[in-house]
Amino acid sequence: MVDLRQPNAPTTEGVSGVGWQPKQIVLLLTVIAAISLTLAQFVIISRMTITSPIFLDSTVGELAVWMADQATEEAPESFLGQIAAQRLPTVGEDNIEQVLLTDMSRLLTLWTGGVAALVLLGALGLALSVRGHRWALLAALVGTNTLLYVIPPTPNTSLVTLILLGVVALGVLLLLAAQSVEKITGFVVMLALFTVAWESSKAFANLVNYNITLPAAAWEYSAYDDLDAALAGLQSGEITALLADRNALDEIMPPHPTDPDTDAATLAYPDLRHLTEVNRTRQQLGLEIEPELARRVSVATTAATAPTITDINQLQNMPLGTVAGSFVEGDFLQQDHQWVLMNFRISNDLNLPHLQSIAEALLQPARRNGPVLLLRILWGAALYTMTEALLGFVFGATLGFILGSVFAHIPMLQRSLMPYVIASQTIPIIALAPMIVIWLRDTHPILPVAVISSYLTFFPVTINTLRGLQSPDRLSLDLVHSYAASPWQTMWKLRFPAALPYIFTALKVSATASVVGAIIGELPSGVRNGLGRAILNFSSDYSLISTPKLWGAIFIAAITGIVFYVAVLLVESVVLRQQLDA
């Protein structure tokens, strides 16, 4: 062999030394951006006092206040409460909140200071090509990213914007500086960018008005001094329809359509009709016009006209009347009518809370002033759900393996039973779950949930076991046949090892499906300790307090699924290490 690396040959270093390459310029700019953004964060946070609103609203600030509350209670149950209570004798009940707030603000300053130091260290390491600079930058990225969960995005401060930009800069820096993007770096960077995208989409949605309207013509109407005058006008034919308060009309005229309980003869205006089922949505060319007619407003007309009016859009060109100064006049007829061309809002605090609110909800008591943090309750629920899912996973995987093996060996059974196995998956689990709960009512409450979970689990395992056991080629089968191997030996020496990669693929699908199955299974089965019940509870109350809790539960459920998946992945990497190594 000839050594191509001759000592005098020009090296690539010589080429790059001539001028700056675009990548290096971007890298340098990113390094400068990351350092200045991180330092700016540190300066702002270190200058915050414990009375700054931004600090008091932050997750750590609120946590300090809550810990102070806990400390003054008798025998606080939570861990953080106990820590606070230990400080109580030395500082006194009056000062405990101040002391804890000071501690927390120092912690936050220390945190951002550490992040700034890591960024400087990483940048220095990068410049000097020291190994391990990537770990410093990675830690800095995680540290900065955490701030997004801690600092409230209050208006008129640039801090959150700085943090968002800082995360992006560090992420880009890591992707650019890395020789090759490894799993961990890639994962952390993507996670960080996800949080940035989340918060930015909120900021963006607040800035952009998704409500695009055109002015629409208001309705012509005559205003009467009082209701009696208006009704007289209606009777005389001056106006065709009267818009008035529902309650006022209720007492004095029969409704349309007719109500058998009402005796028209006893009412003051038996020949007028109060339209109770008229369509209240105003439309033009299929698009809505705002405002729509409020529920408390009714339309009155004569008995003869009543059947012809089904929609308030028909009233537009009729002589209309109302009572001057009434709710109808102020809230509907005199309003600016707008033709809504486009109206949607993708993120408000109700459907997409800030990450900070979610983190805060997790770190606060599950019930108002309760002793136990939501995170701990959800953690317990996740463990419970995981138990159910594990049981369901084991049931389902075993059943799936047995079915797959039987089908692989008896083609007649495969042909005749496979359609039912497939059909079983087309039945919505949500419909079947209550039945399973009723059948297994008298057993342990966890059993029906496990069965429901296994219902989702067994299918992929069946299909892939079957496929895997049939995967050996003709020659591999001929080989064991030539050794006169028994069917049992063929199964364990050839078919099963060949099927393992297929089975593990199915197990990975099933692992996440089993968690979904367990959560769905909890809903009808009255299991109170699991994540399903927690999600149900929080979603039933859709408010600014409950939504972050719901999101918290969603995240915990997702993490539970991931934990399960990773567990299967680990087992796979041990069992199939020979086949997975490239």
Partner: protein, 260 residues
């Protein structure tokens, strides 16, 4: 054991899908006798039934007519008695087993004790000169090495008969010639009877004592050629005039067979 033949085929027929429109006569009226210790090649164009004949001997398929005996027994009994080892076109090593474990596979199926399995596998790997690779996995070995493992696996339980179905067909010319020498060395060392299917005339002439030339549609034996070259053979054998004569003779026979 009045009949000393390892393989005795008499008026052997094989029809695929008999009794249907798609019926194909793969082999017709095959008469062949192979003696112990012989190296016999089956050669012929594709579709001449040479692989079918080998699979009949191995009892991987059943004949439709005639008689076939392997070691004086019906083929199914010979298979159950593990009378033969087989090497296929592909090495068919099990990728989840190490090389040593792959060689031990037949012994495991036959219920040999662990120590004996290890000893024999090591001995076989020594023979095919792969003793350092026992702990490797198949994907770490080249095609030629994999095929040598397959030969070691076929011989590990010391069968009296080795059936080889175009074992070197997928290898390049150089590797193939080296493998041919290797095979002759192993054959002489183990005293096994070999039935070798190939579509290479040079390979058949170089290896065999007798060459069974087959012709297609329907598959039958057109001629059996005796190779007049002394064993042991080496690189110089390929330069022997008798080698060229035999190659030419077989080529002409094959051409004749094809023109029919």
């Amino acid at each position: 054991m009045s009949d000393p033949s390892v393989i005795q085929a008499t008026n052997l027929d094989k029809i695929y899908n008999p009794g249907t429109d798609e019926a194909v006569v793969a082999l017709q009226d095959i008469n062949l006798s192979v003696q112990p210790g012989e190296f016999v090649s089956l050669i012929g164009p594709s579709g001449c039934g040479k692989s079918t004949l080998l699979r009949l001997i191995a009892n991987l398929i059943e004949p439709t007519g005639g008689a076939l005996e392997v070691n004086g027994k019906v083929p199914s009994q010979a298979r159950l008695d593990r009378d033969y080892g087989m090497v296929f076109q592909a090495a068919t090593l099990y990728k989840w087993r190490t090389i040593a474990k792959n060689v031990q596979l037949p012994l495991e199926i036959m219920g040999y004790p662990r120590g004996e399995r290890r000893r024999r596998a090591q001995q076989m790997l020594d023979m095919v000169e792969l003793n350092e690779f026992g702990g490797h996995y198949p994907r770490q070995l080249s095609g030629g090495m994999q095929q040598r493992v397959a030969i070691a696996r076929a011989l590990v339980f010391e069968p009296s008969l080795l059936l080889m179905d175009e074992p070197f067909g997928a290898l390049d010319e150089f590797t193939r010639e080296r493998m041919n020498l290797e095979l002759l060395r192993i054959w002489q060392q183990t005293q096994t009877t070999v039935v070798f299917v190939t579509h290479s005339i040079a390979e058949a002439v170089f290896l065999s004592g007798r060459i069974v030339v087959m012709s297609p549609r329907p598959g039958r034996i057109s001629e059996i050629v005796e190779v007049d070259l002394p064993y042991p053979r080496d690189f110089e054998t390929r330069e022997d005039p008798r080698y060229f004569e035999t190659v030419t003779a077989v080529r002409e026979l094959l051409r004749d067979a094809h023109e029919i």
